[in-house]
């Protein structure tokens, strides 16, 4: 059940290497997190191409399955390495006792099936001259992950999003310049529905940063760009959806214009709310909440870490300004979460102007959770001492409860919200 008031948040669980070690193994760094539609299952992908799945048992999550989803590859034609890092995971709607999920790296999307399989012992019959059947005995059952489909060779650029349609059959995948429409059962063919590649690549000024289908309307999808715009498209209008139906972009505040304005306006992630009424978007310094029926301006803009605005030059030099933070909404849309540096992330109750700040620090996992009014946030954060190498980029909100899963380096943190007294 969702709490009516801001819940009391507490640390729940920590997965991954628990000791503080100097060198974090690159392959263990969390790169994708996703709850399934019931919240009973949680999938976590890392830079090493692995996916670990947890299952909810009472209030805790327990290990369910693990598999190697992608391997590093080499593109011989372009002489480029293709990383095995999992960029996104999306769960398919349940059709039976098995689970299906889509995972993707930069170039290839895969459909995986997880199910309980009975391990069988087969004994071949003796040769008696009469035909007989091998006998089969079940020894034990285990969870098996099998690759069902591989959707390859459809993207010239790096895939940043995948999103399943409410029709239960199709999904889209987006790279920097194109969005393709697939049928989950057909891997040999996909249709291109958005193409923003200019005739002359020298004129390239904008890339796609995220795309997703509307949760209820099978014909609507949106995509965000590096220029800070969100376009809502209707697949019913045309086969090639280059024209949009709705356009969401907040014009720039001239008083804050700087050399970095365009870079920080790039939207790193955008999501529909569960009922499809709102769109949440994250750019470098802010979160914006749009009502889908009002293109003029967002209904709410939240400044995440305004104290970094004066440090943009340093952040540019160090490339941190290009970090892509994810954002999520709670099921009822009343709360939004997003991350920042120094392992800090925030949960905003945006209608009541209350924020909970968390520091996902494995040395003190239970402390460092504070719920305060908006205006008081970040007061004790000193940009000079912030560790910019520690960032909460990936997270997911449970679809039914106040429960949040956050990735911090090679750890997964779970926090639970308990109803306020």
């Amino acid at each position: 059940r969702m709490a009516a008031l801001a819940p009391n948040w507490r640390f729940s669980q920590l997965f991954g290497e628990k000791d503080s070690i100097e060198e974090v193994s690159e392959v263990d760094i969390v790169s994708a997190i996703e709850f399934d539609e019931t919240g009973d299952f949680l999938a976590v992908g890392d830079r090493g191409g692995r996916v670990v799945v947890f299952e909810q048992d009472a209030s805790d999550y327990k290990f369910y399955a693990e598999f190697q989803s992608h391997e590093p590859e080499f593109d011989y034609l372009k002489s480029l390495e293709i990383e095995e890092k999992i960029n996104k995971i999306k769960w398919c709607k349940r059709t039976n006792d098995s689970h299906f999920l889509l995972t993707t790296n930069d170039k290839t999307i895969k459909l995986w099936k997880l199910n309980k399989k009975n391990i069988k012992q087969v004994s071949t019959p003796e040769d008696t001259g009469r035909l007989c059947f091998p006998s089969v005995t079940t020894t034990e059952s285990t969870i098996v992950a099998s690759s069902k489909k591989v959707f390859a060779n459809a993207h010239a650029y790096h895939i940043n999003s995948i999103s399943l349609n409410s029709d239960g059959e199709t999904y889209i995948s987006a790279d920097d310049l194109r969005i393709n429409l697939w049928n989950v059962e057909i891997s040999e063919q996909s249709f291109n529905i958005v193409d923003i590649k200019p005739e002359n690549m020298e004129e390239l000024s904008e890339v796609i940063t995220s795309a997703s289908f509307h949760p209820n309307h099978c014909n609507l999808f949106m995509y965000s760009s590096s220029k800070g715009s969100i376009k809502l498209n209707d697949t019913r209008q045309n086969a090639l959806c280059d024209q949009y139906s709705k356009y969401f972009e907040e014009p720039e505040d001239p008083s804050t214009k700087s050399f970095f304005s365009e870079i920080i306006s790039s939207i790193s992630d955008c999501q529909f709310s569960g009922d499809g009424r709102y769109i949440l978007s994250r750019d470098y310094l802010t979160l914006k909440i749009w009502d889908i029926n009002m293109e003029r301006e967002p209904v709410k803009t939240i400044k995440i870490h305004e104290h970094l605005r004066s440090k943009l030059c340093d952040l540019y030099e160090s490339d941190f300004i290009f970090d892509k933070f994810e954002c999520h909404l709670s099921a009822d849309g009343s709360k939004v979460i997003t991350g920042s540096y120094h392992n800090v992330f925030y949960c905003y109750d945006w209608q009541n102007d209350i924020v909970t700040t968390f520091e996902a620090n494995k040395n003190y996992p239970t402390n460092k959770i504070k719920t305060i009014p908006f205006a008081q946030r970040n007061k004790d954060l000193n940009p000079e001492t912030m560790d910019f190498n520690k960032k909460c980029l990936h997270m997911s909100y449970h679809p039914k409860q106040d429960l949040v899963a956050v990735g911090a380096s090679n750890n997964l943190f779970l926090y639970e919200g308990i109803e306020a007294e």
Partner: protein, 584 residues
């Protein structure tokens, strides 16, 4: 029963059903009928089928084969009175995750239903459908709608009303895929349901599918409309179905309009000429001018079919103007679709009207910059020729053909070569000699092998059209020149041509003209040429005079039998084996 050796083979197949390698299991599964034949009906029923029940926990490729093989086992169970036993194996496959597995399972079920008596269907098949309907997960319901139509005609009235209730339930399912399956199979259900229930059961279903939120449910309604029109009277069709047909053809989703456009003729037929002219013509014109290219393309493919329902006046005054505009469409696929269909209007309008109204359009399409458009026009020239005679087009035809003949993409060149004999027949020998023979000769030395091969076949067909005498003077000398070419690929062309020509030139020419050239290459430096000689001689043996074969061809082949290259020896041996006894 089978011999010892056979038993071993069958046992191996049985064991492979549980092999570790999925590929092996798939292949073994494809041989279930072999196993069943060896086991005999009793053991098949008792043991094989229970064993197979344990195999449903396997990969999709294996299950797909299993699903289709179960239907084939009908012959091996000791008579149709046992057919229901196969349903047990199919039940879980009907609810499989993969649509291909479900489809094969449905097909097998249909095969079984065909041989069952109504009593069997009522006792065994019907409960299966009840269980599918009550399943926890939705996938079994996807197969349900396909099977309802299959058994409906064979069961009692009270069960029929249950099935109608099932159909209503799945058509209102919260899962879009289930509604889609229901919508897709509604046409088949219409064909078996009694007339009295059309109004009470089917029309409401048509209404709900045509208004469904999901595009892919709505566009299935097009087919339902078509099925209904053939079932009800014209008055009822106009009153009840026409509104839906119109709605679908003007739907906001382009995919639905596309389905309507693609089936527009069938969709309109049922309403009668008067209504079509009053109501459907305008909609058709709208579809021809639709903002989505795919829809315009689909509409263009229906022009000839739809115009057969209309009067000449309407065609000329209402349909032709938008069609002429389509020839200028910015989307080349639309223009190609138009070109592939519009020529069919010529017979409808007759010679004079075609000349007046359509000729310019054809010429325009013939000069289109996109090769597929030009190719489509040329492929349909036959229809034009019957009505107006091709000479009118010949001025534009030649540049079009030449351009296509020189296209960079070799598959385009290949396509035009295949039309040459047809064109030659219609344009006559003078036109050909004058304009097209150079093209045909150039193709013989094209850089792509498939083109050279097709060019040789082309020459052969031209000889069939124009006769051997024509060939002797005009084309053959040039074709056979290549045998002295320094490039071995082109010497090979001569051999290809000789092969192709052998069947049409007659034994005399084979002996006088073709054979000497071929024999000259018996000692060619390149082994590829030498073994091609052997292959060519093998073909020539079929058409040459037996004496010639004995005296000239056989000795040459015997020389090749002692060649240093083993491929040459191999082909020479094949050729010798092919020599019939009377020529040895």
């Amino acid at each position: 029963m089978a011999e010892q050796g056979d038993t071993k083979v069958v046992q191996r197949i049985i064991n492979e059903l549980k092999h570790d390698d999925c590929q092996v299991r798939t292949l073994a599964m494809g041989q279930l009928t072999t196993i069943a034949a060896a086991l005999g009906p009793e053991r098949t029923k008792d043991e094989l089928l229970s064993f197979l029940k344990d195999c449903v926990d396997d990969e999709d490729e294996v299950l797909e084969v299993l699903a289709s093989q179960v239907g084939c086992l009908l012959e091996f169970i000791g008579g149709n009175e046992h057919a229901q036993i196969l349903l047990i194996n199919l039940e879980s496959l009907l609810g499989a995750e993969q649509s291909k597995v479900r489809e094969k399972a449905v097909e097998s079920c249909k095969q079984i239903a065909l041989v069952m008596t109504p009593e069997q269907i009522q006792e065994y098949f019907y409960p299966l459908l009840v269980r599918l309907n009550e399943a926890t997960w939705y996938t079994p319901q996807l197969s349900l709608s396909a099977l309802i139509s299959t058994i409906y005609p064979h069961i009692s009235d009270d069960k029929k009303s249950e099935l109608r209730a099932f159909y209503n339930a799945i058509s209102a399912s919260p899962t879009p895929l289930v509604r889609r399956a229901a919508s897709a199979n509604l046409g088949s259900f219409v064909r078996v349901i009694e007339d009295e229930y059309i109004v009470s059961d089917i029309f409401p279903l048509l209404k709900s599918t045509a208004a469904d939120d999901q595009d892919y449910v709505r566009f299935m309604a097009v087919e339902t409309c078509i099925a209904l029109c053939s079932k009800v009277s014209q008055e009822v069709a106009i009153e009840q179905i026409l509104p839906f047909a119109k709605k679908l053809a003007t739907d906001s989703a382009w995919r639905v309009r596309y389905m309507a456009a693609n089936h527009f003729c069938d969709l309109s037929k049922g309403f009668g000429e008067a209504t079509v002219q009053a109501e459907m013509v305008d909609i058709f014109v709208e579809l021809l001018q639709d903002r989505e290219g795919e829809v315009r393309s689909a509409a263009a493919s229906q022009i000839t079919a739809f115009c057969q329902l209309l009067s000449e006046d309407i065609i000329i005054n209402t349909i032709l103007p938008p069609i002429s505009e389509l020839a200028n469409d910015k989307d080349e696929h639309v223009r190609a679709s138009l070109a592939g269909d519009v020529m069919g209007l010529a017979p409808l309008l007759g010679k004079t009207k075609t000349l007046e109204n359509l000729l310019d359009l054809f010429l325009k399409l013939l000069r289109d910059e996109f090769y597929e458009v030009r190719l489509s026009v040329i492929s349909k020239l036959n229809g034009i020729n019957q009505v107006v005679g091709i000479e009118l087009l010949s001025d534009s035809l030649l540049p079009a053909i030449t351009q296509l003949a020189e296209e960079k993409q070799w598959r385009v060149r290949l396509a035009i070569i295949n039309f040459i004999p047809l064109l030659a027949k219609q344009l006559g020998v003078e036109f050909f000699d004058d304009k097209l023979s150079t093209l045909c000769l150039n193709w013989l030395v094209d850089s792509v092998h498939s083109i050279r091969e097709a060019a040789c076949k082309n020459i052969k067909e031209l000889i069939e059209v124009f006769g051997v005498d024509w060939a002797k003077t005009s084309i053959m000398p040039k074709v056979l020149e290549f045998c002295d070419h320094p490039n071995y690929l082109f010497r090979g062309t001569t051999l290809l041509s000789a092969s192709a020509l052998s069947s049409v030139v007659g034994p005399e020419m084979i002996d006088s003209t073709l054979l000497p050239l071929v024999l000259r290459m018996v000692d060619d430096a390149v082994p590829n040429i030498r073994f091609k000689v052997a292959k060519t001689l093998q073909v020539m043996v079929k058409f040459a005079d037996p004496a010639v074969t004995k005296n000239r061809i056989r000795p040459a082949l015997e020389t090749l039998l002692t060649d240093s290259d083993k491929d040459v020896r191999y082909y020479a041996q094949n050729a010798i084996k092919a020599i019939p006894p009377q020529a040895s």
